[in-house]
């Protein structure tokens, strides 16, 4: 065993315990320093996010600390009774650790499938381990391979492409389908809902500048406008604002539609045929749904956007098999390399032994044939080296092939006994 993982996620650890177990950056750095002192010779990386706390341990020449010790170590660091953590923290070894890390980094284990933030969090965790000098060659290679895997999943599947939050779908999939640019559009914000502010954040990122906030309470409109960097308007001038608006985001708490079909029909001539996008995020709705069937009006209620989000989420799920196949392939490759690396000392001994024997034979031969010139000696030396390399190739290739399916203990033992190699 060279790799170990102890950790819990949103699926296994209840929220209240997860909150207590979570590490801030400073706490994580402190914990890693303590780990280095407690387990010298072991490598350790601590990944702590809102949804998971995971400790990756590794050792090149020995076994990493036992899982139970890591559980106790984490409990001690956070001042939690270890008996609370024992039943909820999972433990993995070797290949399962690699597979898990690759899945986590690719966003396959996230609460929101395919979310990209985890990649940055994994990078930060690795950087912190390096700073704390608990990151080593084995964890280094594993984390680099994890980042490569995540990149492959991003480029070779559409897992992270589909938007799944209502504000992002509203702006990127619908409003951007109607308007090419937003810097010349007039946006009207009706109400003060949290989702309106979030949607406005996406619109701002898309270039929206001209934003007017309307609220029944004038003071609230002024306050919200100041907070969002928008202009406060008068709610009584709703008709006038509708006449000049290009995009309306509505999130009031009104129990009846604020904009009826009759009201909109009165406003429509003043709009001079300009298209209007309405994101009606209020429940009950602020716009009469019949307005959406009028030409030039693109009306999306919260349910429409939620349905689009659900469809996108299903599409993400459909990408899972392809993403898992990549994780599987990369895991096998990494483990194959890891196993093959464990054969390095035997291979080096084998090569050194053959080289030594060959050199002794050459020396004897050149002594018997003193008439040989330097060029001829070099030719003979090269021939010997080629011969040795060709003879060594089949056993080394067998070792490499065997490494792909696990540590090649049997072959290594056979080589050691056949060629009298020392441990």
């Amino acid at each position: 065993m060279t790799l170990a993982l102890v950790g819990g996620t949103h699926r296994t650890v209840p929220l209240d315990l997860r909150e207590r177990l979570a590490f801030s950056a400073e706490q994580a750095a402190e914990a890693l320093t303590r780990f280095r002192d407690r387990f010298p010779g072991s490598e350790g990386v601590l990944l702590s996010t809102c949804n998971r706390v995971e400790f990756y341990a590794a050792a090149v020449d020995a076994a990493p600390p036992p899982a139970e010790q890591i559980v106790c170590f984490l409990a001690e660091c956070r001042g939690i009774d270890a008996s609370l953590l024992v039943p909820v923290l999972s433990r993995e070894h070797d290949e399962a650790v690699v597979r898990h890390l690759f899945s986590v980094t690719s966003g396959l284990d996230s609460m929101v499938l395919g979310e990209p933030q985890i990649l940055a969090q994994v990078k930060q965790a690795w950087a912190l381990a390096q700073e704390s000098r608990t990151g080593g060659p084995l964890t280094g290679e594993m984390f680099q391979a994890a980042l490569r895997t995540a990149k492959r999943v991003t480029t070779e599947t559409a897992l992270g492409r589909e938007r799944i939050s209502i504000p992002s779908v509203a702006v990127a999939d619908f409003a951007s389908g109607v308007f090419e640019r937003f810097d010349d559009k007039r946006v009207v914000l009706l109400g003060a809902g949290k989702m309106a502010a979030e949607t406005l954040r996406y619109l701002r990122a898309a270039g929206a500048r001209d934003v007017t906030v309307l609220n029944r309470t004038a003071g609230r409109a002024v306050e919200l406008a100041a907070r969002l960097g928008a202009r406060p308007g008068r709610f009584e001038e709703l008709s006038g604002e509708l006449a000049i608006a290009d995009l309306v985001i509505s999130t009031t708490g009104a129990t009846e539609p604020l904009v009826t079909l009759d009201l909109f029909r009165q406003v429509e001539p003043a709009r001079e045929g300009r298209p209007l996008v309405v994101l009606d995020l209020a429940v009950p709705r602020d716009f009469d749904p019949r307005i959406g069937s009028l030409p030039g009006v693109w009306l999306y209620a919260i349910d429409d956007l939620a349905a689009a989000c659900a469809a996108n989420r299903t599409r993400r799920q459909r990408e899972m098999p392809a993403a898992l196949a990549i994780v599987d392939e990369e895991t096998r490759r990494f483990m194959g390399d890891l196993h093959h690396r464990s054969t390095a000392p035997v291979i080096e001994q084998l090569k050194a032994g053959w080289s030594e024997t060959g050199e002794a034979e050459l020396t004897r031969l050149f002594r018997r044939l003193p008439e040989l010139e330097a060029a001829e000696q070099a030719e003979i030396r090269q021939a010997f080296e080629r011969y040795a390399a060709k003879l060594l190739h089949p056993p080394l290739a067998s070792l490499r092939n065997e490494s792909r399916s696990g540590p090649p203990h049997g072959l290594l033992d056979a080589l050691k006994r056949l060629f009298d190699l020392q441990d």
């Binding site: 480029t155 070779e156 599947t157 559409a158 492409r161 589909e162 938007r163 779908v169 999939d173 619908f174 951007s176 389908g177 109607v178 308007f179 090419e180 640019r181 429509e268 709009r271 001079e272 045929g273 298209p275 009028l294 030409p295 030039g296 009006v297 693109w298 999306y300 429409d304 349905a307 689009a308 469809a311 996108n312 599409r315």
Partner: protein, 295 residues
């Protein structure tokens, strides 16, 4: 080099465009990291072969370069193919080829069916002939681009009305952008087609006045179809202006652009299969030729 250039045929670039079209059609079916590269590669290879083919003809044909109906269709297809490659490089996620490549392939098909003989020429009217051809070419390309944008507008509007998120790999340009293209195309097409028609009349009048070449009567199918096309394009432009401030103006303009392409296609088919005096060599020798023979 000569053997290589003369060996380039229509098949070379039609095959490249067809593969690019198949790759475009596969966008919603599966994701591929190399598709964009392959797509651009085939489109660029097609355009290169297309350019070399036209260049070779321009150099080797004894008449004014690219002055046959065959060359005219190929030149129109070349302009659209160049536009397609540029748009694909600028917007790799937009499946513009799915709409433009069929038009390009149809134009190459029309070229294959049309005459490769250059239009009869005389040095005195050559400039008018070139102007006539360029304006007609610009009008046709403008109609085609407007129709492609119109079709894309209708598909995008349909998707937005059904409240569906865009399909994978099938992200259309915004309605605003597409509407801007469809709104401009009837005007450009109308004015260039009218200029093409007028320059054709001048060309015909000069031929008639000087007795240089065979003149085309007003009742000739080509004159009638071009006249009808010009009238329709002017009407379409006027209608597009009239509906500009209506809420359904975008949709109506998109349909007008598609009808314009229909009228243009009908006009081309009429030209391909109808009997005409347009572009036909004179049945009697021109006076200059008679003088030379007498001498």
């Amino acid at each position: 080099m000569h053997a290589f250039l003369s060996g380039i045929s229509l098949v070379c670039f039609v095959a490249s465009y067809a593969v690019a079209l198949a790759l475009e059609a596969s966008r919603p079916l599966f994701r591929s990291a190399v598709r964009s590269m392959l797509l651009v590669g085939f489109a660029a290879a097609g355009l290169l072969a297309h350019s070399l083919f036209l260049g070779w003809r321009a150099v080797t044909e004894p008449a004014v370069p690219l002055s046959s109906p065959f060359d005219w269709y190929l030149l129109a297809a070349w302009l659209l193919a160049a536009g397609y490659l540029w748009l694909t490089l600028a917007n790799p996620r937009t499946p513009v080829g799915l709409f433009l490549l069929p038009v390009i392939l149809l134009l190459v098909g029309a070229a294959q069916l049309s005459s490769r003989a250059p239009f009869p020429q005389n040095p005195a009217t050559q400039a008018w002939g070139v102007i006539h051809g360029i304006f007609n070419l610009a009008a046709s390309v403008s109609v085609a681009l407007g129709a492609v944008a119109g079709l894309m507008w209708l598909i995008q509007a349909g998707r937005l009305a059904r409240k569906r998120a865009p399909l994978q790999g099938f992200r259309m340009p915004s309605l605003e952008r597409l509407a801007a293209i469809t709104a401009r195309s009837p005007g450009i097409a109308a004015w260039t087609a009218a200029a093409g028609f007028a320059s054709g009349m001048v060309l015909n009048a000069v031929n008639k006045q000087r007795g240089l070449l065979e003149t085309v009567p007003w009742t000739d199918p080509v004159v009638l179809r071009m006249g009808a096309l010009v009238v329709w394009l002017i009407v379409a432009d006027a209608l597009a202006h009239a509906v500009r401030r209506r809420p359904d103006g975008g949709r109506l303009t998109a349909w007008l652009a598609l009808v314009s392409l229909g009228v243009l296609t009908a006009s081309i088919l009429w030209g391909l299969f109808g009997a005409t005096r347009h572009g036909v060599p004179p049945t009697r020798p021109a006076p200059a030729a008679i003088d030379e023979a007498a001498a």
